[in-house]
């Protein structure tokens, strides 16, 4: 997809989103090492083009489910920095009042039906949201983000079969970052390309460069149209790379399990740098404008950290609230 095919405002919004994800994740990583964040965190540095390209094709009426590595999806779907950061800090002002934490930040108002700590568990849930939409003439689509590891879970296969059978308006986005926890995809997965698994369920399986945000966006637009026409689901495999470990701080217990050269090579294909160069090459965005966005995002993230740090911890009474609706 050429940048010229997308309105400038949208392009800049996408650039801002990618930078926002990068700064947010770097900040969370650094704060974790400083001991400011309880629990554990999974960051998606280097994978920013996938959530950004996908969510740029969605509206608030559309649904997503995401994973333990979900900050980027949440931000791309419209999540605000302050309540996100506050949730990661376990504060009362967080999106989930401090009951979810890093792996479970969600906003139902934004159509985010769960960031899941269980690999593959969000796939049938997104399928069900699409089922609900099918009662309303497929007016909304549902997207399930998951990793290469989840494509080996039974829920992936059961969901794809169900969605294809019922022609549900769901898009399965496999964000293949080359590792399932600490195991390379080649050691865990019987096929080289996860996209070929779409054929087993009679749906298109599309491979896209997951570091090329406009390429991701283009295949998403096609998938959304197909879904809304009632033609059923699409499996998109966006190939990218996880720059950081599975979990922040993992070196302390697993050591190194990847070649430094492999990580370095991936960094040469930074999705943000690629997009920035592409934008400048079109001639209607200048480097200074991108720098300005980066500066603004930096300030916004710093403000979110200050907000989280100064927010109150939850009242103890919250521990027993929200178990049931009534």
């Amino acid at each position: 997809m050429e940048a010229s095919a997308v309105p400038k405002e949208k392009l800049l919004h996408m650039y801002r989103t990618m930078v926002k994800i990068r700064r947010f994740e770097e900040t969370v990583r650094d704060l974790f090492f400083q001991g400011q964040i309880p629990g554990f965190v999974h960051v998606s540095i280097g994978e920013e083009a996938v959530p950004t390209g996908v969510c740029a094709a969605l509206t608030n009426a559309d649904y997503i489910t995401t994973t333990h590595r979900g900050h980027g999806h949440m931000l791309a779907k419209g999540g605000e920095l302050k309540p996100m950061m506050a949730e990661i800090f376990g504060r009362a002002t967080g999106y989930c009042k401090g009951k979810g934490g890093s792996m479970h930040i969600v906003s139902y108002a934004l159509g985010i039906l769960g960031a899941n700590g269980i690999v593959g568990a969000g796939i049938p849930i997104a399928t069900g949201a699409a089922l609900a939409s099918s009662f309303r003439n497929n007016t909304a689509v549902a997207v399930s983000f998951f990793g290469d590891g989840a494509s080996n879970e039974g829920t992936f296969h059961e969901s794809l079969n169900l969605a294809s059978l019922w022609r549900l308006p769901v898009i399965y986005v496999c964000q293949n970052n080359a590792y399932a926890e600490f195991t390379p995809t080649s050691e865990s997965t019987s096929v080289k390309d996860i996209a070929v698994r779409g054929a087993a369920y009679a749906m298109p399986g599309v491979i896209v460069d997951g570091n090329d945000v406009l390429a991701v966006h283009e295949v998403m637009l096609t998938a959304v149209q197909r879904a809304k026409r009632g033609e059923g689901p699409t499996l998109i495999e966006a190939k990218t790379y996880r720059w950081e470990g599975h979990v922040v701080g993992e070196q302390a217990f697993v050591g190194e399990y990847r070649d430094a050269a492999e990580i370095e090579a991936a960094k040469q294909r930074c999705p943000i740098a690629l997009f920035g160069r592409q934008l400048v090459a079109t001639g209607f965005v200048e480097t200074a404008e991108l720098s300005r966005i980066e500066g603004e995002v930096q300030k916004d993230v710093e403000a979110a950290v200050a907000f989280a740090q100064s927010s109150p911890l939850p009242d103890i009474a919250e521990a027993t609230r929200d178990v049931f609706a009534g």
């Binding site: 009662f135 178990v323 609706a325």
Partner: protein, 322 residues
């Protein structure tokens, strides 16, 4: 009041709630045909969009029900046999039960899971299990176990209208029973137990299909001058603790009867609650009558040996009233 069959009660409850609320729909294995009769004929009234046969993919369609509930629907998902819940354990325990809490109260989860459970006669261990005790330990799930046709209808209707995930356990043996059902929009609130027979010497707390057995024993023992009260909690979550403790306080002696296992079972849970909150009212140790801690065997004499029955209940009542 009318007399209707237990299965008919389920069918009526489903049809009434589907008429009442267009967001209610049914899915599960062979629900169009209605393998046990509960959903039979609903396809003719409500059509294939609202009565959906699923592939044999419990995790897939349980999860799809959860997603549909969060996105505005009110699904009734049939898990054909309770033992099949293990195939979708993550979706039930980690998703349905927790997403509301984990999201700080944002998620809506109005979903009902219906499952046939219990020993029905040589169905062997993978089609005879009780399963709900394991779910008592999973927060965020409501658990309903009706013991007769009237409660079956009223509890299922209440479960469908409830905004939390509710698992309704229907004992296979009760499928052949009939009972009286009030006319009109009959609802039994969750968390309200029932004294099925009033008595003064001993309380039998019985769950599901153990209630008619307890009533039989109560009738027999009345001939010997033992006055037995039968308390049916009807829903285990929420639990009518006040009703339970009031009956215990009245009689001072308790036998708890459940078809689940002894260790970690529903009977153990209720006994613990009585000890915690009603110890001073007890005049004798609590007795539990449950299945033995084995898988349920296939061969009829073996199955009979491990399950609770009238003789075991009678012996337990005599022991606590001796």
């Amino acid at each position: 009041m009318r007399s209707i069959g237990f299965i008919e009660a389920i069918n009526e409850a489903l049809a009434e709630e589907m008429h009442r609320d267009p967001s209610v729909f049914i899915m599960g294995e062979d629900v169009k045909l209605g393998a046990f009769g509960a959903t039979r004929g609903l396809i003719d009234t409500f059509g294939p969009q609202r009565v959906r046969n699923t592939p044999i993919s419990e995790a897939g369609f349980a999860g799809a029900g959860i997603g549909a509930a969060m996105a505005g629907m009110r699904p009734v998902v049939e898990i054909e046999f309770a033992s099949f819940l293990y195939c979708c354990w993550d979706q039930i325990c980690n998703q349905a039960g927790k997403l509301r809490y984990m999201s700080g109260g944002q998620a809506r989860m109005p979903i009902t899971f219906r499952c046939v459970f219990g020993a029905m006669g040589s169905a062997a261990a993978q089609h005879s299990e009780v399963v709900y005790p394991q779910l008592l330990a999973a927060p965020g799930l409501k658990i309903v176990v009706p013991s007769d046709a009237g409660d079956m209808k009223g509890l299922l209707k209440a479960a469908i209208r409830d905004d939390d995930p509710v698992l309704v356990f229907e004992h296979g043996r009760l499928g052949f029973t009939r009972g009286s059902v009030p006319d009109g929009d009959h609802l039994v609130p969750l968390g309200q137990g029932a004294v099925k027979r009033a008595g003064s010497d001993v309380t039998i707390v019985a769950i599901g299909a153990m209630v008619p057995k307890a009533l039989t024993v109560a009738e027999e023992l009345s001939q010997d001058g033992i006055s037995v009260e039968v308390f049916d909690p009807r829903s285990l979550v929420p639990l009518d603790e006040d009703g339970l403790l009031a009956s215990v306080a009245k009689t001072g002696r308790v036998v708890i009867v459940d078809e689940g296992h002894l260790r970690g079972g529903a009977a153990a849970d209720l006994a613990a609650i009585i000890i915690d909150k009603g110890f001073d009212t007890l005049n004798a140790p609590i007795k539990r009558v449950t299945a033995l801690d084995t898988p349920i065997p296939f061969s009829p004499p073996l199955e009979e040996f491990v399950l609770p029955n009238e003789a075991k209940i009678r012996a337990a009542v005599r022991e606590v009233t001796a």
